[in-house]
Symmetry: C2
Subunit: 711 residues, 2 copies
């Protein structure tokens, strides 16, 4: 008997991990009874080879147990979650010291608490686990939880604490208010981790733990994206080379070889034939012209749009020449490496709604134009299946936990600079199903409301069809003072006095920035809650000034939060405000319909989100927009690539200016991800390492196994 | 109380996963009894914050249980291993069909069977688990099992089945002869997986499963090596750039910044100071000259020896120019990407005997020469800690299983072309401890005895101090016919008639190659067992001819094996021969002592292993050897980079020629790995993709989740 082959994947059976030994069963039952029971069993489960009676008995018992457990769950008002207690110190020690002081729950325990079945959970060590997408199937009739996006005002270069607030909020909801609550976060790139100090796991008493697992390889998803992206590049360049060095006949014969006398197209080659309008399936029956059409992709080496990637800050790879070995016979070309999270594949993983959708998006990625200007896709290069195989584990979100033991799903991390910068739709969907009707799912949008939140609503929510219930916008006194005219804030340098002492005047002047972000949220028809993230130097007068302004200027509610210093307990008001906001009527709608022309969509975003008066384009950009429109790419949403440090295109301009001109000096399209990317100014896709990167502080204590200096 | 912080890592406590709730304990005991018990408990475990009495009780109970379990284990003659039964079909279906037909045991079950404690096992899903190095500490007094190396004769390009024989052997030993037995294998590179068809998981009924997990990302170790290798490259180029664009003063100030008023060297900077002979620790106390000496590595961009890597076949990266973006101000240079497994870091992971040893080796890797010709190391670039942190999970071997449910440790995969091509010392050590005195550990050496086995003995065994008990050399009738003058064997092309029909004459002529490999094994003083790996077309007369020849020409024993078709049952004779050989007296010794000059060591290998009469060197190589000798690198063992397809340096020459001249036309040193690499002929460090790579056949069935066409 072929063991286990009859067990359907995802069936309850696997849950129980049973595999009874016939010899033991015979011992238990006696030979005659065993034979009789066997005969009955083979009627119950008529599969080739037969199934033992003990197996059937155990299957039936387990089916009953699983059903009962599921039923109990559905009746319970909330998860039986065991929060991890916090005893915050004053002043809080370093992030890593706080993270280390908490022993995380075994991730299997957390998975069980939130209603996952063992067969849906693949542990990666004791603190991380991949969650199977089959949970969406199992819970397809389950009502979904409330959906909350956390965005920010225009930040200082130090960041205003979006991740910290996200975690404080779910810790408050989950560990203190007894609500099912999830944080959905992006996996951070390893580049910045080793570049300029600063993890992405939150901070103080609002963190995801263990932070070193979160900030390093995690469960390997970014590495899988890197491998997939680069295999596609290698296959493209190899194909260009093989086409340049082979005549039509031999090229076709190599692409469709005779193996043990049989010659046939592979499935992916048949798809290409179909696209070419050739319906033949016998490789020998093609005409010479058809053979050439099939075999020659005819990629124009000057029109390649696909770069290689690495997940680190490597400035010397920003522009390179490849193919200089004599083995490549002089066919060199200029290209670049981007940071891995900038790969279109990462954006696709984040936007795909199921595996089929991801497959279609990967297949349709345009990697180059051919010499007649037609797009060449990943599928034309035969790559779709290989990409899927490399990415299969990366489809699944990774479960981790907050400092207070509430669940966190980490999944994908598309570069906010040139993609939409949100974690995955699949993770959010799983979280909303597991949280259930009375639960809450909070997720982060990269950067301020003008960039991150706008893309969250217009790109991510459009792709998923999910309707958000509330937007939380994180504000700090420090950033608002900067918008009021305070001197520049520079990482590493000491803060100027105006940021350390009370200064209501400067703060008042900067409130305009907050006002703009509130109005941005309201334009989408969702209640906006302002989370004022308290810092040590803020005075009560300052904090209350911000709160009053926000509530008088369109915020559903504004609350002062202290989750950095206190954990969930410091975000109870925020939690209550979010609970109330999620009950308020939401009239969510997108900013623009997809059938507007590209120019009109960009204009709408520029004027309504940024406050621009006009949009200017270069000649080249306008030509490309015409080309995109001809090819039907104008029906995609817009993914602006603009600085996040200003509402305008110039990072130096603070506050909330209006009537300015936004200059679009570049544009490209990500056909697989499904968006058009207008570029405002220079947007780097590859950061560099400074003279003294955080590398110098990082070490592994070889005695304790603990990482030092990483954060 | 800070939860869990008092639990020492690796203590038995963690095994039990206990964390009793004081509230529950009070309920159980009553308040007064709880208080009294608490007082006692705090005497037993005097830690700050105190420990509850239930905790202490459970700790004590678990300590007793663990001790009992450990004791029972030590008395048992063998593991309580549950083999997975095989029912081989004739003819055997495809490798993937066979692999799929077997349901692997849950890896936690296997880990338990072989005596691992739960706290030593980190599951990665249900079929893979990382094994903690702490097991070596726990079992330090345990006697070790027998150590067997599996190598081959000079192969055809199709391979002669070394991995298959390795797995057949351990399946026979473990599942049929009831002996504790481990296979230790290399993790394969993903490059060949997507290039020319062929996994590395064995074949037929002798495989490691699941083969798709084995052949793809596994537990991410190669990705970690890639990340570490490339971070080092990025840091080196960034440092060259920053030194070129900054004056001495600002450069020093940036390397040793004042943070919140405090200026200090990091630990790794203090190490560099020490190497420079500067004993000061206050950054402000250095003289200008000392500051310059510290801050300027002065790397000569034409003397860089560190390449970037990717784990795929990307021929266009064999030679490239980097730094062409205007942001790098014209400081371009030529370099290359190698395949990841060729990284020196991979060789170090394979050769390190503990974490401290790995740390020292990583620190001492030479990445370039400075303008005065002195070596610049990874430690000079501040990288040692960051490398360790990126690699920390990759230190641990991955446990998988054979088709018959016996344990397999997969760890590291240094490129056999330019490194030593063996899996890790750490995995072998763990396996030998777990197998115990009566157990067997078989590991594979890349290529034939001239290359793979020689390096296994002279490099790997020298680094580990382990003494091998037996060498298994795999031979096939097919390869021996080729050595007898048969026409070339080409992958993809049909086999010539002489390989399909009985041909005793050709076979007789080719036996010389087998004779040479037997004599090579005997030179190291270990018994040599010849495994004749039966193929479908071999006749009894042919197989017996090989067997007789081997036994008359120095083999301890020669056996005909059929494990490809039958699994362990087909390798019972091999298992018995190995058991006997391991009882035979072994007079193992290295081929050469380390203190011989480089030229003499190379000569000894060339003459005794290959049969060469002379060795010739280019002028440049001789100069480099002088330089290596000056720097003390002449005390390293030799790691020859020579074709594996011939005993000579020319892949076209078959049989066992003697008296030929071996031409060494290149040489380099891997200071961290600790070997000198003479190059014979062109050795590529970056394969390419053919016109039709296996990419075209690979797909993911989005309904079943199964991978198709990968093997």
């Amino acid at each position: 008997m072929v063991r286990g082959s009859w067990i359907k994947p995802g069936a309850v059976v696997i849950d129980c991990g049973i595999n009874p030994d016939p010899q033991k069963s015979k011992k238990l039952l006696g030979d005659v009874a065993y034979a009789e029971a066997s005969a009955v069993a083979s009627h119950v489960t008529p599969v080739p080879g037969g199934v033992g009676p003990m197996t059937v008995a155990m299957l039936m018992r387990n089916t009953v147990l699983a059903a009962k457990r599921q039923f109990d769950r559905l009746l319970a008002p909330a998860w039986p979650l065991r929060p991890l207690r916090l005893t915050p110190l004053t002043p809080p020690p370093s992030d890593i010291a706080i993270a280390r002081s908490q022993k995380p729950k075994d991730i299997a325990e957390l998975a069980d608490e939130i209603g996952l079945f063992p067969n849906e959970v693949s542990q990666y060590g004791r603190t991380k686990a991949k969650i199977a997408l089959s949970v969406l199937d199992r819970l397809k009739d389950q009502k979904e939880g409330k959906y909350i996006v956390v965005a920010g005002i225009t930040p200082t270069p130090l960041g205003e604490g979006k991740s910290t607030t996200l975690l404080g909020l779910v810790q408050a909801l989950g560990a203190h208010r007894g609500r099912n609550s999830f944080a959905c976060m992006r996996q951070p790139s390893q580049g910045p981790t080793f570049g300029v100090k600063g993890g992405a796991a939150g901070g103080g008493y609002s963190q995801v733990i263990p932070m070193e697992e979160f900030n390093l390889h995690l469960t390997g998803d970014i590495h899988a994206v890197t491998a997939a992206n680069n295999l596609l590049a290698a296959q493209m360049d190899a194909r260009i080379f093989h086409e340049l060095t082979q005549k039509d006949g031999p090229l076709y014969d190599r692409l469709v070889p005779r193996i043990k006398g049989v010659r046939k197209f592979s499935a992916i080659q048949l798809r290409r034939l179909k696209r070419l309008g050739i319906s033949k399936t016998d490789p020998d029956s093609l005409t010479d012209e058809e053979k050439t059409k099939f075999a020659r992709l005819d990629i124009d080496p000057t029109k390649v749009m696909w770069n290689r990637v690495v997940d680190l800050n490597d400035r010397y790879l920003r522009k390179i020449t490849i193919g200089q070995s004599p083995t490549e016979k002089g066919f060199t070309r200029e290209t670049a490496f981007d940071i891995s999270v900038a790969s279109e594949i990462m954006a696709i993983l984040a936007l795909g709604t199921d595996v089929e959708d991801i497959k279609e998006r990967l297949a349709s990625m345009v990697v180059a134009l051919d010499k007649r200007g037609n797009p060449v896709t990943a599928d034309d290069l035969g790559m779709t299946g290989a990409l899927l195989v490399l990415l299969k584990d990366a489809f699944e979100p990774t479960l981790m936990q907050s400092l207070e033991g509430t669940p966190v799903l980490v999944h994908t991390g598309p570069f906010a600079n040139i993609a939409h910068g949100c974690s995955s739709i699949l993770a959010d969907k799983i979280a909303m199903k597991l949280a259930g009707e009375n639960g809450y799912v909070a997720t982060e949008a990269g950067f301020g409301s003008d960039i991150g939140m706008e893309k969250f609503f217009d790109i991510k929510c459009r792709a998923s069809g999910s309707r958000p219930h509330c937007a939380v916008i994180v504000a700090t006194v420090r950033a608002l003072k900067m918008h009021g005219g305070g001197p520049p804030v520079t990482p590493g340098a000491p803060l100027h006095d105006v940021y350390v002492k009370e200064n209501l005047e400067l703060l008042s002047k900067g409130l305009c920035n907050l006002g703009k972000h509130i109005s941005n949220g309201n334009k989408f028809g969702v209640p906006v809650v302002i989370a004022i993230n308290r810092h040590g130097n803020d005075t009560e007068a300052e904090l209350n000034l911000v709160k009053d302004f926000a509530e008088k200027n369109g915020a559903y509610r504004a609350v002062i939060c202290n989750h950095w210093a206190k954990g969930g307990e410091g975000a109870l008001d925020l939690a209550d405000a979010v609970i109330a906001a999620c009950e308020a009527p939401s009239k969510f709608d997108y900013l623009y319909p997809l059938d507007l022309p590209i120019l009109d969509k960009v204009k709408k975003i520029a004027m309504e989100m940024y406050g621009a008066g006009h949009v200017e384009y270069t000649e080249e950009v306008l030509e490309k927009i015409m080309m995109f429109t001809e090819k039907g790419y104008d029906k995609f949403p817009i993914c602006m690539a603009k600085t996040s440090n200003s509402l305008t295109g110039d990072p130096a301009i603070k506050g909330a200016p209006s009537g300015f001109t936004l200059k679009v000096n570049g544009i490209f399209v990500s056909v697989g991800a499904g968006f058009v990317v207008p570029m405002v100014g220079e947007i780097s896709k590859m950061p560099g390492l400074p003279t003294r990167p955080s590398i110098y502080d990082i070490d592994l204590n070889t005695t304790t196994g603990e990482i030092e200096g990483l954060f």
